[in-house]
Every structure is written in C-alpha cells, then in structure tokens.
Point group: C2
Chain length 345, copies 2
C-alpha cells in the first residue's frame, strides 16, 4: 500500500458545519483505505457526531480541537490578525507545516484565499492564486474547468496566461486528451473583447506546449468544446452563479407546474426517472470543490451550502490533487514555459 494521504478538514466552515462535514469525512475514509484525516474544530461536537464510528475508520482520524471559527461576515484581513486559532487558519497552517498534504474548507472564501496566500505563498511564476470551478458537460460525460471564478478581478493578460497553465495542469488528471484551452470572450472575431483578452490570446497562440483553441462564448461553456476556460474572476463568478440560478429556476418551475393539478401531478410522478437522470448529470454536489490553484500547497474550497454528498466530493477533489501532485506540476510547468511566456507577452 502507498503512503497514507493526509488531509486536514476545517470542520466549522460552511452553513452547516460539523453536521455536514463529519459524515462527509467518514464517507471519504470508507472510500479511500489509504486516506487519513485531521478534523479541525470543536472536539466535543465532533466526538458526539462520530458516535460509534467503526475502529477501522476511527484510527485514521485525528481531532485537533479549537473553539474558534470565522463566519462569512468576518472581513478576510481580520483572519490574519485575530483568528490565528480558528479552524480554517489551523487547517491551512498544517499544509504549510507539511503535517498534511491538503486541506478542505467550506468557510469564507476571501479569508481562505488570504490565509492560503499568507501561509503557503504562490508557486514561483504565479502572481496570485486563482479559484477554479468544475462544470458538468453532460454531452461529453466529463468536466470542464473554469478559472478564475472570483479571486481576481481586473485581470491582466499575463495572469490570464497563468490561469491557462494552471487549468491545463489540473484538467490533465480528468481529461482523456491534451486539455483544450479556450478564452472566454463576447464573440469569435479577433477584434472582440478587452485589450487584456486580446493580448492574452496573442500570447497563448504562441505557446506551442499549450493546446489553445481560441475564444469561447458564454453559450459554448457547457458544449464540451473546451476542457479549460480562462476568464477574469468577475466574469467567471457571474457565469457560475447565474448558471446555477438558471438550473434552480428550472427545477422550481417544473415543481410548481407539477403541483398545479392532478393531471400534472401524475405526469410529474411518471416522469420522475427523467428528472433523476437530469439531476445525476448536472447535480451540483458532484461538481462541488473549487481548488485554490497557484499556491505551494493544496486547498480545496467547498460551497458554503454543500450537504454531506457535496462536501464528500470536495474531499475527493483534494484527494485527486494530492495524487497528482498539482502544485509541483504547476511549478515545473511554469518553469519550463518561462522562456516561452517571456517572449510571448
């Protein structure tokens, strides 16, 4: 058996805290016999939720107690000053100390980014970390990665190129071919888009080691045309949030219609298998777990409102990145590209 993978979990983050995180952690331990977890948070509460967990799982679990946690209203900067004993800070600090291989948190995104950057530093060649989200592509049955989705706004061309490199590294583990990289834009034509997008496009075209395929428009994101889509964090953030909004509106409309009269109630009951298929293919829980890429260590951010299944998938994402050694691979890719990018930008 290979060396145990070790991941720290911020138990106190997210809308539901330990009630969601502890069961998700146990599920991950059951799925991965070579995984051990450090649960960082309120020990009595964790012990209570662990209950009579089987010894074979319990022995791969360590608890690090802290009663301090931060919430979504905490200003990110405050974490570095006043919350060094919070579950989030302690979990990231364990990555820095190499006591664990990665950490997962459903807490305040801004605080997690700032803590990550402060404690882990960026990979040489990467100016700032980015948040990468994975998107279901039902037709091709694999995922597409979109970055940045909110860590950086007013992004300049060199940073967009960094995103392309980081995305390519992450996508390589789930993508059956060399990841195709697209640049999000408002049209296909060369003259479309901001100055920074046009500069980034010119640079990406010159990087032979990246499989850059050109501009991608909003409607093509879910088409499976690209495996990595690069964009400014503002655009990426509104794309993932508005897409989620559309899915939830459609579900609501169908539910509302389904309850309207007995005929529609019957129809809804009869069409349940279809809706189940749909849910399976675009289930947000399956795609939970956004990585903070570009740091010298692995941090995965779970959605704050994730339930057990969703948080489990965020841990899965961390496990994959540990196996793939993502930060080292980003570093070596950046180093090998340095002469090329220098010339291209």
């Amino acid at each position: 058996m290979s060396r145990l993978k070790r991941i720290a979990i911020d138990v106190m983050g997210g809308d539901f805290g330990p009630t969601v995180v502890v069961p998700a952690a146990l599920k991950s331990l059951a799925v991965h016999p070579d995984l051990s977890l450090v649960l960082v948070g309120d020990q009595p509460r964790i012990e209570e939720l662990l209950g009579h967990t089987a010894t074979r799982l319990r022995q791969r679990l360590e608890i690090v107690h802290t009663a301090v946690s931060i919430d979504d209203n905490t200003r990110p900067e405050a974490v570095l000053r006043k919350y060094k004993d919070s579950s989030m800070y302690l979990a990231v600090d364990m990555v820095r100390d190499a006591r664990v291989d990665a950490c997962v948190s459903a807490g305040n995104t801004g605080a997690l980014l700032l803590t990550g950057r402060h404690l882990l530093k960026t990979v040489p060649g990467i100016s700032k970390p980015a948040i990468i989200a994975s998107i279901p592509v039902p037709t091709s049955n694999h995922r597409c990665y979109l970055l940045d989705v909110g860590a950086n706004i007013d992004t300049q061309a060199p940073q967009l190129v960094e995103f392309a490199v980081m995305g390519a590294v992450l996508a390589a583990s789930t993508c059956p071919h060399t990841p195709r990289i697209g640049l999000l834009n408002i049209g296909q034509e060369e003259h479309k888009g901001t100055v920074q997008i046009k500069l980034a496009a010119q640079a990406l075209e010159k990087l032979d080691s990246l499989n850059y395929i050109g501009f991608i428009e909003g409607n093509e994101i879910f088409d499976g045309k690209a495996d990595v889509i690069v964009c400014d964090g503002f655009a990426g953030n509104v794309v993932i949030k508005s897409s989620a909004g559309v899915v939830s509106v459609i579900k609501n409309v169908m539910q509302e219609c389904a309850g309207r009269d007995w005929l529609r109630r019957l129809c809804a009951w009869l069409s349940a298998p279809l809706l189940l298929d749909l849910n399976t293919q675009i289930d947000p829980a399956r795609f939970n777990g956004a990585s903070l890429l570009g740091l010298q260590g692995i941090i995965v951010k779970s959605h704050g409102n994730a339930r057990t299944e969703g948080f489990f998938h965020a841990i899965e994402q961390a496990v994959r990145e540990v196996m793939d050694n993502v930060p080292d691979r980003i570093a070596s890719r950046m180093a090998s590209l340095a002469p090329e990018t220098g010339a291209a930008l």
Copy 2:
C-alpha cells in the same frame, strides 16, 4: 383611432432573412390594427412571400427595395463606408428621417450599433448606446432587464449610472411598481467588486429618484429581486449567453434521457404537459428583442437565429417603445437627473 405607428423592418438580416421576417411582419400587422410597416429588402423575394396577403394587411405594408445586405462577417466599420444601400442602413436612416417611428433588425449587432450611433446620435447626457436584454423571471411572471449585454466593455462608473437611468425608463412600461435597480457584483459586501462598480454604487445610492436596491449576485438574476440589473457589457454578454447555454443543455439531456429506453420514452410522452409549461415560461422567443437604448430613435435587435415567433416579439418590443416614447423619456430623465448625477459622481 390614434395615429398609425410606423416601423421599418430590415428584412434581410438574421440567419433566415425574409422567410422568417415576412411572416412575423404579417402577424404583427394582424395583431395591431394601428401599425404600418416598411419592409426593406429584396422586393421580388418579399412579394413572393407575401403571396395572397389579405388587402386589409397589405395596405399597411410598404416595400423599399434593395438587393444589398450585410452579413455577420462584415466588419461593422465597413457598413458606414460601403453598405449605405444595405437593408440595415436604409432602415435606420428612415428612423433618422422620421419616416418611421422605429426599426427592427436581426442583422450584425456591431454594424447596427455603429449605424445607429452614426445616424441617430445619442440622447443628450448619454455617452454611448447600450444593449438591453429582457430575462424571464418565472416566479414573478414578469420580466427583468439586464444592461449592457455587449455594446460596451470596460465600462466606467458614470456609464453604469446612465445604464441604470435607461433601464428604469424601459422597465417602467412592463413593471407594476417603481423599477428596482440592482448592480451586478460578485458579492453583497461593500468591499466587493471593481473600483468602477464601487463608484457606481456610491453614485446610485445618492440618486433619490432611482429605486436602487444594491448589489445583485449572478444567482439572483432570475429570482425577481430586481427589475433592472446594471453591468458592464462583457459580464452581461456572458451572463445571457451562458444562461441560454444551460437551458439548451438541460433540454438536450432530457431529450437524450427520454429516448434511452421504452420506459423513459413513455415517461417523456406522459410528462409533455410539464415540459410545455416550462417552455412557455422560459421560451427565448417570448423574450427576443434587445433594444439599443440611448439613441435619439428606437432600434430593436432581434436574435440572429430567431424564428417567426421570436421576430414577432422583437417587433412587439419596438411597438411598446414607440407607445412609451422611450428616447424622449430617457432624454427628459437624464436632463432632470443632471444636477443630481453631477453631484453624485
């Protein structure tokens, strides 16, 4: 009977040209007894499609012949130099000459914007025209307006404020209350967003005559929280395109699932009324017709791939704007706000 409303139609624009536009025009004439239309395009083709149109419709129809049209590959600037006899240019020119009250085109958006700006000029106080799209809000059963969706990128704060004013004027005609105006952002907190968004938020808060309600996140666009959502044209463009992408993916997944086996085929057949309800509520055709706001004249842009029903709704949008006298109302609103905005920005 009130004076006839008169609208010029670019018959040659869009993916399907006259085959879609002529039947849509006839439907509009049938629906509005006080409407007359000028069809600008290839006369023989138009006559052929008109066939044996009833005299009561035919007498409210004029044809202006031109064999020249532009396509989506035409560079916008070329229109002003080489295509002054194109159906699009002639239709917009009729608005300038006050021969018609508005025009509708499904042609090249960039060319339409440039022609509109060149021939009609902007309303005093408006620096550049914006494209406004209307979005279905199934829960509240009315529409929400999003602007800009692609005419302006790298938008500055004063322009975002102009968008808010123009959106409020347009929304007033379909909105049962004073339009609630939101600013698209990546979070609710004051410190989130670009410098320009923060400046625009500060200015909008000071304008008492606008019902500004604060930041709106991507997932809230379809919630009915706001009647007008203001954003940079890049963000707006990716939002509407990616949302349309999600809807089409969901339809495809359900169709694909529905064909998988006999049980699912039966389910799909039985659940048809539900899907029909869904289609009715979020049907893109019903929401076709994006206005080019801020010009001294009314131009409505139909989606290039609109079918007859969609193009009909674009004409409907033009009819509404003629009735509401939108350009004049924007001008007077800008004039009355001038002292306030001067102080706010």
